[in-house]
């Protein structure tokens, strides 16, 4: 495998100048939060306990303020903005404070390939501790796994345990049987914490162990894929968010604060299915990797009509209306002041993806969107529209509003039917996206383009040679690899060209977009760069079909 981590070459900068704010899929009206999730992750990781509380208190304003706005004085809004500002300040200072720590850990990750395989990137840790941790971790896992090599050989294990070391979830196997293993995980973490340090990851035995401590929970990923520590941490964060979406942070912390030994599985009953599904999606869906949302390619006039239909059915306290078909976003209508974070939207996608129970009848469920407000539930009216693949979610803050929302949905369906929008959505879903051939670049096999300003991405259907499941998985791993290289915090790259034995990949990141393109193995860098420039022009031409650029508001 020849690998040439490219330096930004001349054409790159030129294009960037031309393209700023004009890149395909750019919009000044974002409906999704667009913060870089990796920066955010670092911030989240570095907050100290008191700040967590503070942040939680501040964030809890969102749902409360919507309620208040409709019932009482308008002062809630002011408090809301103040809270955001404060939060930003906290973020900035904590980022600066821990910058040095971060860099150390990144470097360690970098070096891990060519140093001793067992390297632990806890800054300022003593060698003795490292040694103990490593031994304990390895021995325990081997003991546990003698029974089944299949279990041991799973590519990615994910565990959730409480701070007291009680098992909550294991991706594979029965978590009951893993009590002792989880006990060790907990011991590792508290041992390092005792020395006023945080255990981030261990690399040992060809596996990466990544730890995410989110009091009162501990999440652990054990993985023999080549994903970076950063990517794994982000995945654990998704898992954590999934738990919050079921319980809310307030309930979670209250329960485990009052009874440290509480068996959280009692409250999480039925959630395993969603966690399993989430982890499977993470391993195959680029939206999690990119923290972006995929839109259903749709004629812009149809999309506008759908937007207007939803808009016109507005009722009080309806915060978000989300129309989803086939795991892709059709449209999202929101209350003017509130935007949704892609991570929250991913939870919604996962919810629909994991359960068939919504197809049988209209549902009414409480759901916490942790980025929106981790302290409380939104209530969602979920219905599949008129025997189609299109699913409408109406999110509100009032738990008694089911029947109002059911009426609202009827109105929307009526309008959509009148304008034949449901057929249009069905056609778009049945058509299965667009083909890479449409772009008209002969050697281009596949690509993923993310518009940063809208947190949306687009990708064509996977075609030959990526029809087989294994090939798809391999391609996805390649994308993960290029992504991790260009996003490496210690040595970020603007553009990277990687030639493998079976394909060549180009990764290109600018302030406005991220583009990953796959070519045949014989493609040269020059050809690839010419091709992606052509590709960008094509995406620009199609941007109204591929992206939601003018999202409707209530």
């Amino acid at each position: 495998m020849a690998d040439s981590p490219g330096r930004p070459d001349g054409t790159d900068d030129e294009d960037q100048d031309v393209l700023i704010g004009e890149e395909p899929g750019a919009s000044v009206h974002p409906m999704l939060a667009t913060e870089d999730s990796y920066e955010e992750l670092d911030y989240d990781l570095n907050i100290e306990a008191p700040i967590t509380e503070q942040r939680e208190r501040l964030a809890s304003g969102t749902i409360a303020s919507i309620v208040e706005e409709h019932t009482g004085p308008a002062s809630a809004e002011e408090v809301g903005t103040e809270a955001t500002e404060l939060e930003n300040d906290v973020e900035r200072s904590s980022l600066e404070g821990d910058l040095s720590n971060l860099q150390i850990s990144e470097e360690v990750t970098q070096r891990r390939a060519d140093t001793v395989p067992d390297r632990q990137d806890v800054p300022n840790d003593t060698d003795e501790e490292v040694l103990q941790n490593r031994e304990a971790g390895q021995r325990e896992i081997k003991d546990e796994d003698i029974h089944s090599s299949v279990w041991r050989d799973h590519k990615k294990h994910v565990f959730i345990l409480s701070e007291a070391g009680k098992p909550i979830y294991s991706r594979y196997g029965n978590e009951d049987k893993l009590v002792s293993l989880m006990g060790v995980m907990q011991a590792l973490i508290s041992f390092v914490q005792d020395g006023k340090n945080n255990l981030r990851s261990i690399v040992a035995g060809g596996r990466t162990f990544v730890f995410l401590v989110r009091p009162p929970l501990i999440l652990v990923a054990v993985c023999r894929t080549h994903e970076s520590q950063q990517q794994l941490l982000l995945q654990l964060t998704y898992v954590y968010n999934q738990v919050l979406s079921v319980l809310t942070y307030s309930q979670l912390s209250r329960v485990l604060e009052t009874r440290k030994n509480y068996d959280l599985r009692r409250l999480l009953g039925g959630t395993e299915k969603f966690l399993d599904n989430l982890l499977n999606l993470i391993d195959q869906d680029p939206s999690f990797l990119l923290t972006a949302v995929r839109c259903l390619p749709l004629d812009s006039t149809v999309r506008d009509t759908i937007g207007h239909s939803i808009q016109s059915a507005k009722i009080k306290d309806l915060v978000f209306a989300i129309l989803i078909a086939d795991n892709q976003l059709v449209t999202l209508c929101r209350m003017k002041k509130y935007i949704l974070h892609p991570a929250d939207l991913h939870l919604v996608f996962n919810l629909l993806n994991a359960s068939t129970s919504f197809q049988a009848a209209d549902s009414w469920i409480p759901i916490c969107l942790p980025k929106f407000d981790s302290a409380g539930f939104l209530h969602a009216h979920i219905s599949y529209l008129d025997n189609s693949k299109a699913c409408l979610l109406l999110l509100t803050v009032d738990k008694m509003m089911f029947f109002e929302l059911a009426k609202c949905k009827e109105k929307i369906v009526e309008k959509l039917k009148k304008h034949h929008c449901i057929e249009a959505i069905n056609r778009a879903v049945a058509g299965g996206g667009y083909r890479c051939l449409e772009v008209g670049i002969s050697d281009l096999r596949h690509f993923i383009y993310k518009s940063k300003s809208t947190a949306q991405f687009t990708a064509p259907e996977l075609e030959a040679p990526y029809r087989e499941k294994e090939e798809r998985a391999r391609l996805f791993n390649m994308y993960q690899y290029v992504h991790q290289r260009v996003h490496n915090a210690a040595r970020p790259l603007k553009i990277m060209f990687h030639v493998g034995s079976r394909e060549a990949m180009l990764g290109w990141v600018t302030t406005g977009f991220e583009l990953y393109a796959v070519f045949g193995p014989l493609a040269t860098k020059q050809v690839a760069i010419l091709a992606v420039n052509k590709l960008l022009k094509w995406i620009k031409k199609e941007e109204y079909r591929l992206f939601i650029l003018d999202p409707p508001e209530f």
Partner: protein
């Protein structure tokens, strides 16, 4: 089913809530009745699902609005929303698990303390096709149902045993309740024959998807049987 509409036909609207522990088959029962199908892998209900359907019983056009609730403990705090103003409740347990029977009793106690209007209660012992694994005896359940003045049936969503009867009897009980207790919150109106509708509003469109899925699954299974086990 629909008899000749007599001029004095009445229309009755009732809210029904289905309660019981997770996994006892609440959704399966409702889907069996509404959709005439049984799905082997029904997902656990999240929150609650809402079904409506109509039937003609005893010269009444009865519209049932059914809240099929989630059985998990974490949704328990949401339950009052669904049984508030309900006119009838299905209390479901699994005859192969005694704990679900005990759990069902706690629902009865909760309903007794939290609601003040009279309500039709119907105890359903589900999964009665699994006779060899039975843990809750019919007599015991029957005695209990009688002690709280509830209807009692043993049902199987798999074989459709007792399901039709349970819904039918519940509707009849609702009709007599509306006559005996005028202030029970049930609304009866003169039935407007012009707004005549099918018993099941044709087939609920949302269930078509499910039915298709079941077909697909069955086909897949058959294929798998042919091919043998893969992966």
């Amino acid at each position: 089913m629909a008899g000749p509409p007599t001029p004095r036909m009445k229309a009755l609207e009732a809210k029904v809530v289905v309660l019981g522990k997770e996994g006892v088959g609440k959704t399966s029962l409702v889907v069996r009745y509404v959709g005439k199908i049984f799905s082997k892998n029904v997902s656990p209900t999240v929150g609650a699902s809402f079904f409506t359907f109509k039937m003609t019983v005893d010269n009444h056009r009865v519209k049932l609005m059914v809240w099929d609730t989630a059985g998990q403990e974490r949704f328990r705090s949401m339950a009052p929303m669904y049984y508030r103003k309900a006119n009838a409740a299905f209390l479901v347990y699994d005859i192969t698990q005694y704990s679900t029977f005990e759990n069902m009793k706690t629902w009865v106690d909760e309903l007794k303390t939290a609601t003040d209007t009279p309500m039709v209660l119907c105890v359903l012992g589900n999964k009665c096709d699994l006779k060899d694994q039975r843990k809750v005896q019919s007599d015991e359940a029957l005695m209990y149902a009688a002690s709280i003045g509830a209807l009692f049936f043993e049902t199987s969503a798999l074989t459709n045993e007792g399901v039709q009867e349970a819904f039918l009897r519940l509707s009849l009980a609702l009709i007599s309740l509306s006559k005996s207790a005028p202030n029970c919150g049930l609304i009866t109106k003169d039935y407007d024959a012009r707004r005549k509708s099918e018993d099941f509003l044709s087939f609920p469109p949302s269930l078509l998807l499910l039915r298709e899925q079941i077909k697909e699954e069955e086909e897949k299974e058959e294929e798998e049987k042919k091919v043998g086990r893969c992966c």
